[in-house]
Amino acid sequence: MDFNFTDEQKMLRDSARGFCEKMSPMAFVLDMEEDEKGFTDDLWGGMAELGWTALIIPEEYGGIGLGFLDMIVLLEEMGRVCVPGPFFSTAIVGGLTILNAGNDDQKNELLPRVASGEIKLSLAHTEPGMTRYDPAYITVTAEASGENYVINGTKLFVSDAHVADYFICVARTSGMCSNKEGISLFLVDAKGAGVSVTPLKTLAGDKQFEVVFDQVSVTKDNVLGEIDGGWPVIELIMQYAAVGKCAEMVGGATKVLELALDYCHQRVQFGKPIGVFQAVQHHCANMAIALQGSKFITYKAGWLLDEGLPSTRITASAKAWVSEAYKKFVILGHQIFAGTGFMVEHEMPMYSRRARAAELAFGDANYYRQIVAGEIDL
């Protein structure tokens, strides 16, 4: 057993921290929430230059070929300062889907462009009918028509759709809604005919969209993986995405605890710094418990994914636990900062709004508890 990061991972962390703090101060993050695009070319170009978009893409496709634990290091740092932009959609969800589902031609064509930061991707997966998170609830259809497939239907909560070059559209090619078989993955030109993108205004000010596919025709070359065989890939990608979100939450929580502890030493009431009061100390202790547990279950999940060991139960446990732990964690943070933390320009709302968004992204605790139930033989 070894809970240490490698020297390389520590270097990656240092360099990521420097870049993120420089490029993404709080004023920038809040500006980007209001900005239509939501990030700058400087920021995106900088990340690509540092090799982040190439980080987990194998060397044969122009990447660096590092593991998911390395990505976790990076995501923690991005989560610490809430770095905006389409990195998660492109370098993790999109890139890994192509890597795991694509044929040689597709991988050779697309992955080097993901690695270099040239293109951006977005997974068009969830749908309006999903009042509860259920990724098998797919009604968007793709019907064979000669050499092509024609896609129809509406996707919702599609991240970074406004800047994506390609969507990976999860569509039904056979079977009934909520049936896990009969689902296929299609690479769709985001600017192509019949695709329309409408922004959703969200709590965390992140960029999510409704994407309507109206008679969108794609060639058979653009099928990712086997027809009707998309589901196992989606299940795997969901695991990576869920653990990635956990890493962002861990990063955010680490920063919030640092800020809260500083405040406990500085803020004086009743003639004493508030950190001497047991009620406040116990809030901090509860934050530490939530954070330590979140960290290690996230690392364990990442390690299992890297090792190719059975990971469904632990990745599900991680997302279920971290989602709820971080949510409770930011409530304690707000109690410590009290009135000052309720102000729009304070750090606390920036983190607590994101805690809520991250809880929902790629499945909340309710969803993953049902997955874990299946895994413990219920």
Binding site: M1, D2, F3, N4, F5, L69, L257, L261, C264, H265, P273, G275, V276, F277, Q278, V280, Q281, H282, C284, A285, N286, A288, I289, Q292, G293, S294, F296, I297, Y299, K300, W303, L304, E307, R313, I314, A316, S317, A320, W321, N366, Y368, R369, Q370, I371, V372, A373, E375, I376, D377, L378
Partner: protein, 392 residues
């Protein structure tokens, strides 16, 4: 990072499980776990555990151990715990006292006690708490007077849980009463024969039917050879041991049997013609138990890893302690809710589910958040020692 075990460690685990399949029963497990008193069956099991080669692997060779990684003891504790929450039968000696003797005891004490601890032959009862020294342990008043060749000890201990079956009393007593000396600098540790003249052990019965004890000392003579380490350093030895003790005593694996029992119950029990296991609310509750146990296991693994590698420890074992004790309460509450009316039945009732274990666990669950330090003191430790917040 690596969260796996070595091949040798996994082989040890396999051999151990084959042994436990044959030798461990629920009756033996309950003798220690419920502090009913370790009877002949559990003492016999204890010796077999040693003879089969599962005890003492991490302990020094010169005292009968094998000098290997402490991981082997953690595997032993985990695998026992997964079966009816079993412990090493004489575990106060094996997981707590023995380590302090190794660290601070004299050569004679090591020779006398360590081999017998490893062989599973002797047990110690912890003699710390007093009626007026609970969370404020350094305020203990039990008096040990230096009489030249021996110490003369008088006073009262309470909540000394093993004293009715232990062979020795691991006693902390006051040897310095100077009002100008801080109270934690006047405490000494002693190894006292449990059956020495002047010791009176009286039962106290808990709400979960366990026996603990009051122990009275009336002019008990303890030879100086039984002082552990230096006089007046006892409190320091207790505190330096506490992290390792937490690592050995707060063991998430012991709660897995409850999850397994609840999974079986949910599959075998129907409501309105359908198994409870198909009810999403029931599934969510049981899954949450498994999720929190995995998190607790990672906290424990991290704290153990720090200990194994002699890395700085501040709050990590305390975090495991607070988490696991409160998790037990959440788990048992959910389990009680799933059992419904049947959850209140005594283990001897003809209608009782899961052999009454959940009903017992609920009664027991008030102890872990109090024993070995309350959750409140634990949170103070986390905040002050771990996070650097000031003492009030």
């Amino acid at each position: 990072m690596n969260f796996g075990y070595t091949e040798e460690e996994e082989k040890f685990r396999e051999r151990l499980n084959a042994f436990l399949d044959e030798e461990l029963t629920e009756e033996i497990a309950r003798q220690n776990w419920e502090d009913l008193g370790v009877g002949p069956e559990a003492r016999e099991f204890s010796k077999k555990l040693y003879e089969a080669g599962f005890m003492g692997l991490p302990w020094p060779k010169e005292y009968g151990g094998q000098g290997l990684s402490p991981t082997y003891d953690f595997i032993l504790i985990d695998e026992l715990g997964k079966r009816w929450e079993a412990h090493v039968p004489l575990d106060v000696g094996y997981t707590m006292v023995g380590h302090t003797i190794l660290r601070r005891g004299s050569d004679e004490q090591k020779q006398e006690f360590i081999p017998r601890i490893i062989r599973g032959e002797i047990e110690f009862g912890l003699g710390y708490t007093e009626p007026n020294a609970g969370s404020d342990l350094a305020g203990m008043m039990m008096k040990a007077e230096d009489k030249g060749d021996y110490f003369l000890i008088n006073g009262q201990k309470t909540f000394n849980t093993e004293s009715h079956y232990a062979d020795y009393h691991w006693l902390a007593a006051r040897t310095q009463n100077d009002p100008n000396t801080p109270k934690h600098k006047g405490i000494t540790l002693f190894i006292v024969d449990q059956f020495a003249p002047g010791i009176d052990v009286r039962p106290m019965i808990t709400m979960s039917g366990e026996r603990t004890n009051e122990v009275y000392y009336d002019d008990v003579k303890v030879p100086k050879s039984r002082v552990v380490g230096e006089v007046n350093k006892g409190f320091y030895y207790m505190m330096e041991a506490i992290d390792s003790e937490r690592n050995h005593v707060f063991v998430p694996a012991r709660l897995w049997p409850m999850v397994d029992e609840m999974v079986s119950f949910a599959k075998e029990t129907t409501y309105q013609g359908r198994p409870l296991a198909e009810d999403p609310a029931v599934r969510a509750k049981i899954a949450q138990m498994a999720i929190e146990l995995e998190v607790a296991q990672m906290l424990a693994d991290n704290a153990r890893w720090l200990e194994l590698n002699e890395l700085p420890i501040t709050m990590e074992p305390e975090i495991t302690k607070v988490m696991i004790s409160e998790l037990e309460q959440r788990m048992v509450d959910d389990a009680m809710q799933i059992l419904g009316l049947y959850g209140q039945l005594d283990e001897n009732s003809k209608y009782v589910p899961i052999r009454g274990r959940i009903e017992w666990f609920w009664r027991h669950s008030f102890m872990p958040t109090i024993g070995a330090g309350t959750s409140e003191v634990g949170r103070n430790v986390i905040a002050q020692r771990g996070l650097g917040l000031p003492r009030g």
